[in-house]
């Protein structure tokens, strides 16, 4: 019996989601009175995992892991689950997490619940609460199989420190060759991504043209935020579609989401509603976004945003 968590890393460091799934795994292990095992690849310094409660850490170093084929990663996690006799496998909801989780579930013949937001409501039957209908509802789902796979929704559980003595082992199962090969990667360097951001600044058609984004970029910079936009903005080519958030775009689940000149259409809100605090800046007091936001300013973005940037610069200088 054990709980197995996959801790994802990038460039030798753990992602925040890795620490969140570890925090969740630790609490679940306590609830189920069993041990937490965390499996990871390529990372040397595992102290962050021990800090969040990992009792046993497996560091994968099979050659096969140098692949971009999720099937191979699935085989790797399945090997770990089998070795550790895992009852529950927990995977984050990053782009890689949602890529590999269904493969692991199918290979383990395990029921899979994605977008899980909390610890199980009950263990027997095993019932978890998950997001459904694009954040408009939750569904309590029973997983009926002996082995279970949980996909934890991002920023839904939080980080809980739980310093633990941990044992570290290398783990090198035989893995097949990848059949999907990455030939190139394009990522903008030095930007905060929507997936990782604590703060997201997003703007919509209210900005009138693709030339007016300087003030939004300034706000992004002073807040250390990620930039995002509504769907029409990317359809019009004002911004890249990788910045589009909403039902058909990326999910925004940050601590703070600032919406500038966005009306708050149901499809937009569907993708941003799980952000903790929402601020709306809009000339139209009747814009639907005001119903979903915690704070609102009624007025012209072209006046408010530059002022906000100025005042935030002063605020940051004073508060570090």
């Amino acid at each position: 019996m054990s709980i197995l968590v996959f801790a994802e890393s990038s460039e030798g460091k753990f992602k925040k989601v890795a620490l969140e799934v570890t925090s969740y795994g630790k609490k679940l292990a306590e609830q189920m009175q069993t041990n937490l095992v965390v499996v990871t690849a390529f990372v040397e310094d595992t102290t962050p995992l021990a800090k969040y409660g990992a009792g046993k850490i497996l560091i994968g170093n099979s050659d096969g892991l140098k692949t971009s084929d999720a099937m191979v990663y699935a085989d790797f996690l399945v090997a770990a689950a089998n070795q550790e006799n895992a009852d529950v496998v927990i995977i984050d909801s990053s782009v890689n997490g949602v890529f590999v989780a269904p493969l692991v579930a199918a290979k383990l013949q395990a029921g899979y619940a994605s977008n899980v937001v909390a610890l199980p409501n009950s263990l027997s039957p095993f019932v978890v609460k998950r997001k459904a209908f694009s954040n408009k509802a939750f569904n309590n789902t029973e997983i009926k199989t002996a082995t279970k796979v949980i996909g934890l929704a991002k920023n839904s559980f939080g980080l809980f420190e739980n310093p633990t003595e941990s044992s570290v082992e290398t783990f090198s199962p035989d893995l097949p060759d990848g059949r999907v090969n990455r030939t190139s990667v394009e990522t903008a360097s030095g930007i905060v991504t929507i997936a990782d951001a604590d703060i997201i600044v997003s703007a919509g058609r209210g900005l009138k043209s693709g030339d007016n984004w300087g003030m939004v970029e300034d706000l992004v910079e002073v807040l250390g935020a990620a930039i995002a936009c509504s769907k029409p903005v990317s359809d019009l080519g004002w911004r890249s579609h990788t910045e589009h958030v909403g039902q058909t775009g990326k999910q925004a689940s940050s601590n703070l989401y600032i919406a500038i000149g966005i009306s708050g259409a149901i499809q937009h809100l569907a993708g941003v509603n799980s952000s903790k605090v929402k601020v709306v800046i809009n000339t139209d007091a009747e814009a639907p976004f005001f119903k979903s936001a915690e704070y609102g300013m009624i007025g012209d973005a072209f006046e408010i945003v530059p002022k906000l940037v100025d005042k935030l610069r002063t605020f940051k200088a004073e508060n570090g």
Partner: protein, 246 residues
């Protein structure tokens, strides 16, 4: 090339989400069902394979009779034929097993599915299907080219994209970006007339296990009213001292 496009039949994006029978069933009263938006993108891309590369396009859904209207719409957009597996789509693994059967029987080499269905947001069917079939698999796909049996896809990742190469047979989970918004097709009269004559085959499901069961639904807690703020100073103060997010 034989292409299979998996279509999930979902409530229109503007639907009011309500539940009945003690919050155990989705209330379909007054709800319009449509092709899942991600599947509409893949279907549009598939039409390109048909028109430029001579591919045949089959659409498939696992669903009850009411989902046939959505299949007819896919035929009107231009698919050659349709298959409905006559079962309630409840569990992702169950659906994937039904689709696997359809793929095996039809010998499809390229299976296109969407990143997720916008109702249950499972994001599980394409990957499970690829696992069951042992087909090559990429998800979050925003571009596809097929040259002979080589497949080149771009995949969205955090802050950018990556280009991957693989080969048929393959399952892809695709999303917005795979075609331009302006390329989406609205069925015209001729398409609708032709769709009536195209084959829509109903097959019975194979025996398959359901691994998860949706129990009941909850609505998010009602939110307190939005605080209207008059000045940026006040906003910064509230975000710092009250919400504690900056």
């Amino acid at each position: 090339m034989k292409v299979l496009v998996c279509i999930s039949n979902v409530p229109d994006t503007t639907s009011k989400i309500n539940f009945t029978e003690n919050d155990t069933k989705f209330d379909t009263n007054g709800v319009q069902f449509v092709i899942n938006p991600h599947d509409e993108y893949t279907l549009t891309r598939a039409m390109w394979f048909k028109e430029k590369q001579g591919a045949s396009i089959t659409v498939v859904t696992i669903g009850n009779q009411s989902s046939e209207a959505t299949l007819r719409k896919a035929l009107a957009i231009g698919a050659d034929d349709a298959i409905r597996v006559n079962a309630e789509a409840t569990d992702g693994y169950f659906v994937a097993q039904q689709l696997a059967e359809v793929v095996k029987n039809g010998g499809y080499e390229l299976v296109l599915a969407g990143r997720e269905s916008i109702d249950y947001n499972g994001g599980m069917v394409p990957g499970m299907l690829a696992s069951i079939l042992d087909y090559n698999f990429v998800n979050a796909v925003i571009g596809i080219e097929v040259i002979d049996s080589k497949v080149v896809v771009s995949r969205e990742i955090d802050g950018g994209k990556e280009i991957m190469e693989s080969s048929l047979p393959m399952v892809l989970g695709a999303q917005k970006g795979i075609v331009q918004e302006t390329e989406l097709r609205i069925p015209n009269m001729r398409g609708i007339m032709m769709a009536r004559k195209k084959p829509l085959t109903v097959v019975e499901p194979v025996e398959a296990e359901e691994m998860t069961v949706a129990q009941n639904f909850e609505k998010p807690e009602a939110k307190s009213a939005c605080k209207i703020v008059e000045s940026v100073d006040e906003l910064i103060d509230l975000l710092h001292n009250e919400a504690k997010v900056i």
